[in-house]
Amino acid sequence: MTLSRRRLLNLIGCSAAASPFLTPVSFAAGPWDNRLVVIILRGALDGLDAVQPYGDPAWPELRRTLAGGPEIGSPDLDGFFALHPAMRPLMPMWAAGDLGFVHAVSTPYRDKRSHFDGQDLLEAGTMSLAEGARDGWLNRLLQTVPGVSGDTAYAIGRGDMYLLRGSAPVANWSAEADLTLSPQALRLMELVMQDDPKMHAVLQEAELLAGADVDAGGKRRPGHIRTAAFAAERLRSDARIAAFSLNGWDTHQDQHRALPKALERLADVLLTLKEELTGPVWNKTGVVVMTEFGRTARENGTRGTDHGTGGVMIYAGGALRGGQVGGAWPGLGQAELYQGRDLEPTRDVRAYAAWIMRGLFSLDATTLETKVFPGVDLGDDPRMMR
């Protein structure tokens, strides 16, 4: 038996390679029983298409080819908002109160509308990039809790995502990194690594971690599902926090073709998490899905949308109170739009993330407002916990 042909082709250039929509998952073990999953949507999700404000009188004017609402088959959420049809498989989760949304939110980032800076600020969690934060907010969360240690299995790893970057220990893994060696090669690899105890320990970890990539029928699953399944597997064990990102949201043209695929992947990810965080674990889990900024309220000339400001935050999990679209709705009339073009953010998205962390991990307000999200105003409790 040798290195499998698929693996070999995958590596050096002959196959359709694995999903480009995937980045490594980062994990951190924590001293709690609750679980937090943070998913970053890179490229700026169009919140107005994902959660469609069909009840707003200005809506039909703004979107010509991207019309939404129950009339074109979008499942209705609450009589004002409808869900993009590509996320219809999530409707049972919505009905069960396991899925919710917050609309018209954004980070403090304004005006330049650069993905690069927008994502940096979303992950830094600060008021502005000029503050020069080198660590991400999820890592700073870990720094504030005594007794946090990397899951021993990942002790010498560190986060690849800016979000989890920092001094608190964090381990990395990608579902694509599975080690697939023949038994003989593996035995010999063990042997040569014995010259270096640390590397030997890392090799053994890698062997343990490999394996979440096939479904019950033994078929290899798509990358984003493997990522979610692997996150669930670790969260069922020692890990308490997992973060990863999904790409493919920058829909400048033909959004009606590009966005459904990305939304389906997101729905797959949420369903996989729910399915594989079996039993009581799902009820201890909060999932937060954020993006760097929203997109223009008005459709552009190429059946897409351009970089905007306010957008939507998606949340899920048995620990959170879903079944609601939260946030103060600013309206879509010309005078109500931010700079006449974007959904006006009515609240800092960090405030919602902070309230969820407060609920899951019992963090106090001062820690959240000064350490985790410096400068955030927590404001009123949006009542997102069950």
Partner: protein, 432 residues
């Protein structure tokens, strides 16, 4: 070991990389196309121009991957390996890359122009070349920074202002170090001194007098006149380069990179002293590194970074340029870029301006090691016409570091490719 550094840069001639000064033509072209297109957007003519823009972008993208190949080939075939390692070290110290547009592909051209010619000169010259380089000005937003009381600010109102990004990183990363003796006021004053440093695609660096902040600025207690020229900027950078904290910071970084994550303090002091005594003569500082006992401790040193591992594999296998240079963009991505990303290093795109971490623990993670092993098992047979005899290869690749275990494994593996993969994965090859 150092003599090669003073000789002609033969390997750069053999495997050329376009310097930024030539790369700029692409930016000029993009700018011209953009301008033309803005008038005819949505028309067939506009569509044709968009396609032309895409061609320029595509060519730059392909060339960028070609330069990755050239970079690896330089490391594989050089007789002066130290030069390539120093280029890497300083390119990381002065991390800069384009954030949007065709300049995204200009990192190798930046390194070729700002770093490579200054390797053995004075640190102050290297610092000046990097800090004033268009790619750096763009990366840290300096080219848009406007003095609050400048002519431009008066003209534009409050829409734009000072950007402290570059000034902060110069103090924190490039010179004094994060624990250095500076405060927020120094950052601010240096940023005001920097206001005016900008560039234009058609001429490169340009000092914009209208962006310059009038009046003197005081950085670390020294006052620089407020003339709207580069003279006070040069003076401030020279003073920062000569600061004892800079000597200490650079000394430690060199020791960490070339010797150990936790270097002997005596080695750091030795380097810092030489740095100060020679006014930052880098060749002399490298000499100090090579002559110190702590640099020659037996045993293995730091883990190789992914790019080092990949390059040293090419070197060990003596991969021919003809094997790399014809690779397509897709092949370069799948053969090198993607595997290196899985190993943890997205080539030339570290997360922040502080470059890649040095700690072995960051790199030798389960994921990182898996990716290295997987690549080591699969890549070599694509890189050479026929794999070498593994028992022979143990000696070529590892020399006196070949342990009994590795020698045994190389002979006991089921296939040549597994045997080669085992040798490339072993601790002695993964470290240096």
């Amino acid at each position: 070991m150092l003599s090669g550094l003073h000789g002609p840069d033969e390997i750069a001639e053999r495997f050329p990389i376009q310097p930024f000064d030539d790369f700029r033509a692409r930016m000029v072209e993009m700018q011209a196309l953009y301008k033309k297109r803005s008038k005819v957007r949505g028309t067939p003519e506009g569509e044709a121009l968009r396609k032309q823009q895409n061609l320029v972008k595509k060519a730059a993208r392909q060339d960028m991957l070609g330069w990755l190949g050239q970079t690896l080939l330089r490391r594989a075939h050089t007789k002066t390996a130290l030069r390539e390692r120093l280029v890497y070290f300083w390119a990381d110290h002065f991390t800069a890359y384009g954030k949007a547009g065709v300049i995204k592909r200009a990192t190798s051209p930046y390194i070729e122009e700002a770093i490579r010619p200054h390797l053995t000169g004075r640190f102050s010259d290297l610092l000046f070349a990097c800090v004033t380089h268009p790619v750096m000005l763009h990366f840290l937003d300096q080219h848009k920074s406007i003095g609050p009381n400048s002519v431009a600010a008066a003209r534009r109102g409050k829409s734009r202002g000072l950007n402290e990004n570059l000034a902060r990183e110069v103090l924190e990363l490039h010179t004094l170090g994060v624990d250095g003796p500076y405060n927020q006021t120094d950052v601010r004053e240096l940023a005001e001194l920097f206001a005016g440093m900008s560039f234009q695609p058609n001429r490169g660096f340009k000092f914009r007098k209208d962006y310059s902040e009038p009046g003197a600025e005081t950085v670390l207690g020294t006052t620089y006149d407020g003339k709207p020229t580069m003279a006070p900027v040069r003076a401030a950078l020279d003073d920062l380069a000569a600061h004892p904290a800079t000597a200490q910071h650079i000394a430690r970084k060199l020791a960490v990179h070339f010797v150990s994550d936790d270097p002997d303090p005596a080695l750091v002091t030795h380097l810092a002293t030489r740095f100060r005594e020679t006014d930052g003569d880098l060749a002399q500082v490298y000499q100090a590194l090579l002559e110190h006992d702590a640099a020659w401790q037996p045993g293995l040193g730091n883990a190789k970074l992914p790019v080092d591992f990949v390059a040293s594999t090419l070197r060990a296998l003596n991969v021919a340029p003809e094997r790399i240079q014809p690779l397509t963009e897709k092949e370069m991505r799948q053969g090198f870029l993607r595997p290196m990303a899985m190993m943890g290093q997205i080539w030339q795109l570290p997360i922040g301006p502080d470059g890649w971490p040095e700690e072995d623990g960051h790199w030798l993670t389960p994921q990182g090691l898996s990716a290295r092993i997987t690549w080591a098992m699969a890549a070599p047979e694509q890189l050479v016409p026929s794999l070498p005899d593994p028992r022979e290869f143990v000696r070529t690749a590892l020399g006196s570091y070949a342990s009994e275990a590795v020698q045994f494994a190389a002979g006991a593996a089921e296939s040549k490719s597994e045997a080669i993969g085992l040798v490339l994965s072993c601790p002695a090859f993964q470290k240096r």
